[in-house]
Each structure stands twice: as structure tokens, then as C-alpha cells.
Amino acid sequence: MKLNKNIKEKNSIFKKWLIILIAILFIVLPFIINAYWVDVLFFFGIYALLGLSLNIVLGEVGLFDLGHMGFMAIGAYTTAILNTYFGIPIMILLPISAIAAGAFAWLVCSPIIHLRGDYLCIVTIGMGEIVRLTLNNNLFGITGGPNGVFGIDFPSLGSIFIVDNSTKFYYYIWLIVGLTIIGLVNLQRSRIGRAWNCIREDEIAAEATGIDVKYYKLLAFVLGAGLAGVAGNIYASKLMMVSPESFNFMESCLLFCIVLIGGMGSIPGVLIGSAAISLFPEFFRTFAQYRMLIFGAAMVAMMIFRPGGIWPRKRGAAEFKSLLMKAGEENG
């Protein structure tokens, strides 16, 4: 028992240092690498934020959402339109985009929230496509059709703080990702996170245990969509333009892969998954033709050999204990 405790403590100290080390690495990285890779890491950050947002819906609650890019599109277009037509600063639009995407999620998901598994999956695919096609068809003449909206400002707070180059954008996105991770870890360890996991494990038992299943599913959708809206806001201001083609079905599939590769409901897993999705194509640029082939093969191999993801979430000390027991059996 004491031995077990020691290992637990050591493990937590090791984890603490690992997190500090990674944080320092991320802070000094822009001074070491060139501007191109800083941009690559920026998009890694965007995917991480999107992965975290989908992880709430798919990972924590187990709802198949293949239209997540639709929420990001709402956030991005809210930012683009309000900024270019009314000149509202991007950073003020950050929470507004989140609220717009969240409200949209609440509106469209309320009537379909009782659907299960693949049925919900099909409806969300439809929803994502409807958003993209609506934007493509120049809704009310303000979305700019297939060309999208141009001339979006840099994020700024008055004239004091302007995010206007790659390095600043890098710090900006990773600051937001960092804050999001802290918030989500807190949420995971609260009764809300527990309720979400209960719904994923067994809906009827969750309902009988006193969890308002419908409310918590909707909450997951609204929070996930809100975060995707934040990602959309940052994405729009980075590219200075938005177009419907950035939010196609393939992108939603990539997000789905991020959560599956990393491990459902695991925050470090999502980070690894988004690194795989955003950095992998860069490393294999030389064999560009075979990229998708390798990627597909890697996915299949993953599903066979590590169906729980690269870094599945560990609960309590369960994993450790069973390891110790195995070691004990071998020794005895």
C-alpha cells in the first residue's frame, strides 16, 4: 500500500515537471525555429483548440458529431461580418463569436438531442453541410458567396496590444489553448465532467442516477460549439479572410480523427492527435503523393493495435494498481 502511494507521488511530481518543461519549450520555440514552422505551430494550435472543443461532445459525452466545422464557420463568419461591416475590434468579437456559435448549437441541437449514435451522426453531417452551402449561396448578400469575406483586421485591444505577426499569433493561440486546457481539466474533475462520462457509459443508468441527460448533452454541444467559435474567430483574423471551402466535411472528419487518434475524453491525447494531424503532412511533404496513403494506413493500424487511442484517459490509480498486481504475481 505504501509502495503504491510512493509511486503515485513520484508519478504526479514527474507529471508536474513534464508540464512545466513543455510550457517552457512552447515559450522559447519561436526563437529557435523559422517563421514557416511558427505558422505550422499556429495551425497546430487551431487544431488543438478545435480538437478540444470536439472532445467535449465526442470524447466526454460520446455524441457522434461530424459537423463540427459548421460551428467554427458560424464563429468565423460572425467575426468576419461584424468586423468588416461595423468595424468592431476582433478581440471584442471573440466572446461574441463564441456566444453566436453556442446559440446556434443550442438552436439546431435542441430538437435532435435525443437521437443516438449513427442517427445523430447523420444529422450533424447534414447540419454542417447546410451551414457551408448557405454561406456559399451568399445569405442575405452578406456572406460573399464562394469568395467569402475579405479584409478582416488583426486582433487588437485599442492600440496598445496588436497581434500582427506570426510570432504574436503563435503566442496568442497557445495562450488561449492553455487557458482552455486549464478550464477543461477543472471541468473533467467536477460533477459536470462526471455527469458527461456517465451519459457516455450508460444513458439510462445516468438518467436513473439523477442526471438530466438532455440538459447535459445540450450543454456539451453548446460549450463545444462556443470553443469552436473562438477557434473560428482566431482563424478568420489570422487568414484575414473566410471562405466556405475552409469548413468542408473533410475538415470535420479530420477533427473526428484527432479525438479518435488521441483517445476519447483525454486532453493530452487530443493534443497528440492534433499534432499528428497538423504536423504529419509537413514532415512528409517530400512524398506528397503518398501522404494520404500513409495517413490511411496509419489510421487502420491505430484502430487495430490501440483502439483506445494513443493516450487514453487514466482513471484513478487503476492502471497502476493492476500493473503492480501483475508484478507481484510474477515475483510470487
Partner: protein, 282 residues
């Protein structure tokens, strides 16, 4: 003809006793003409059930009699097609399961339904969901109030886990513990919501004799907590061993109720369980 008289007598006697018991014990929970239909099939037909405060009441009947359907209607998983479910003087009809557990009725399932990929402690902590109230933002920001509540939840869960004797498995995933322990964990999770009425659906199914005995002792010990228990059971030994009151159900209807010994000897009950003799029928 003689047989009819006999059954009439038992009916009258049980009625008197019912009245006697009602004089002593307050009826805390009852269903009144409860009806549930699945398409053309009437699963529960004008069913009356009474449960007295601080007692263990049992609902028995042959397979397919509609016992579990009654439980599912009572706990809000199915919607009743008619009749009332009254708990502490309040009609529960049309309420959702998560609202019903908040009123103080907790249940377990016939085929154990645990949150299998969560630890035993987390399972019991989840049971207190309806007794806690901190929201999303206070959880994201980890406000002092939220931390305090979380600590309380954890402490209560530890107590409940010790009560059902699973403390040593606190960090083990629920799917990894033995079947008998899983049953106890499910009861622990139900108890974590501090219910007034505990509904158990075949708690002894799949348990060996020793485990059943322990279960009986455990359930009796719960009565000291001012808890009322209603159980479905087909293991006659368990029913006779602990029940204060037995209701027998067949084909959706109540066919008898009374003290365990009386029900055990009731010819209608025997007929329902073993079937009628062919010759007698003619």
C-alpha cells in the same frame, strides 16, 4: 367450489391484516390503478401496490408478469398509460427519472447498469449528482464553493463505499470487479443519493448462497437508516427471509398480497407459479 371458498378466506384475511398493518405503519408509497400498454399488450393492468414506511416490501410473480415494467413506470423510464404513482402524498406521474430520484426514490437494475469505465468511487460520487448543485462556470473556475462541495461529495462517497464493503476497490474500474461486488456497488450508488425509498430489481440474481445471505443481512441493516425498501425477487428464500409484506403479480394484475407465509400458501399464487393441473381444469 371448496377451493374458491379457501381463496376467498385468504383474501379476506389478508385484507384485515393489511388494514392492521396500515394502522401501525404509514403508507409512504403506492400505485393506484397503474396501467401500462405496449401496443395491444397490456403489461400492467390496474395495478395497486402499497409500501409502508420502514419496511421491506416485495413484488413477486412468474417471468413476464410485468414486475420490471412496474418499476420502470414508477421510476419514470416508461410513461404510465393510466393511474397514479403517489410518493409521500405527491403524484409522480409524468415526471422524468432524474426528477423522481430527487424526490427520494432510487433504484437498481436487473441487469447491472454501472458506469463501467469509471472507478468505483466515481460511480458512487455520480450517485450524488441530484444532491449537489454547482454549475458549469463555478466548475471551470473552481470556485471555493465548488471545491467545498466536491470534497463533501467525495467524503459521502467514501462513506457509502465503506458501507457496501468495497472501499478497497475505490480506484478500480467498475467493470473489473467481481459480479457480486458490482451488485453491491450499484446499491451503493443508489444509496449515495440519500433516498427514502430504495427500489431493487432482483438484487440476488446471479449471486451465490453466501452472497445472498450477506445481501439479506445488509438490506436488514439498511432499515435502521429509516429507509423503505421495495424489491422484485424470485428467489423465494430471500423473499420469505426478509419481507414484511409481499405482493404477487401475474399477467399484469395483482393476484394476492399479504404476509409472506400467507402468500406462500395461497393456492392462486401456487397456480401462477406452477401452472394449473390439466385434470382440475376440466
Amino acid at each position: 367450489m371448496a377451493k374458491d371458498n379457501n381463496s376467498m378466506e385468504t383474501m379476506i384475511r389478508t385484507k384485515q391484516e393489511n388494514e392492521e398493518i396500515n394502522k401501525i405503519n404509514k403508507v409512504v408509497f403506492q400505485t393506484d390503478k397503474l396501467t401500462k400498454k405496449f401496443g395491444g399488450l397490456i403489461a400492467v393492468n390496474n395495478f395497486d401496490l402499497k409500501v409502508s414506511q420502514g419496511q421491506i416490501s416485495s413484488l413477486i410473480g412468474p417471468n413476464g408478469a410485468g414486475k420490471t415494467t412496474v418499476f420502470n413506470v414508477v421510476t419514470g423510464i416508461y410513461k404510465a398509460d393510466g393511474g397514479k404513482v403517489v410518493f409521500k402524498g405527491e403524484d409522480l406521474a409524468g415526471k422524468k427519472p432524474h426528477q423522481i430520484i430527487k424526490k427520494g426514490i432510487a433504484r437498481t437494475f436487473q441487469n447491472i447498469r454501472l458506469f463501467s469505465n469509471m472507478t468505483c468511487l466515481e460511480n458512487v460520487m455520480a450517485g450524488q449528482h441530484c444532491r449537489s448543485r454547482e454549475g458549469t462556470w463555478s466548475s471551470v473556475l473552481q470556485t471555493p464553493g465548488q471545491r467545498k462541495e466536491e470534497l463533501e461529495i467525495k467524503k459521502n462517497a467514501e462513506d457509502r463505499l465503506k458501507q457496501v464493503g468495497l472501499w478497497k476497490y475505490q480506484d478500480e474500474l467498475a467493470k473489473n470487479i467481481a459480479y457480486g461486488n458490482q451488485r453491491m456497488l450499484e446499491i451503493g450508488r443508489a444509496l449515495a443519493s440519500n433516498p427514502d425509498l430504495l427500489i431493487l430489481d432482483e438484487p440476488s440474481s446471479g449471486l451465490n448462497d453466501k452472497e445472498s445471505e450477506d445481501l439479506i443481512i445488509f438490506l436488514k441493516s439498511l432499515l435502521k437508516e429509516d429507509l423503505t425498501i421495495l424489491l422484485i425477487e424470485h428467489d423465494m428464500n430471500v423473499v420469505m427471509g426478509i419481507s414484511h409484506w409481499v405482493t404477487v403479480m401475474d399477467e399484469g394484475k395483482k393476484i394476492a398480497e399479504g404476509l409472506p407465509e400467507d402468500v406462500y400458501n395461497n393456492p392462486q399464487v401456487i397456480e401462477a407459479y406452477l401452472g394449473k393441473d390439466e385434470e382440475e381444469e376440466e
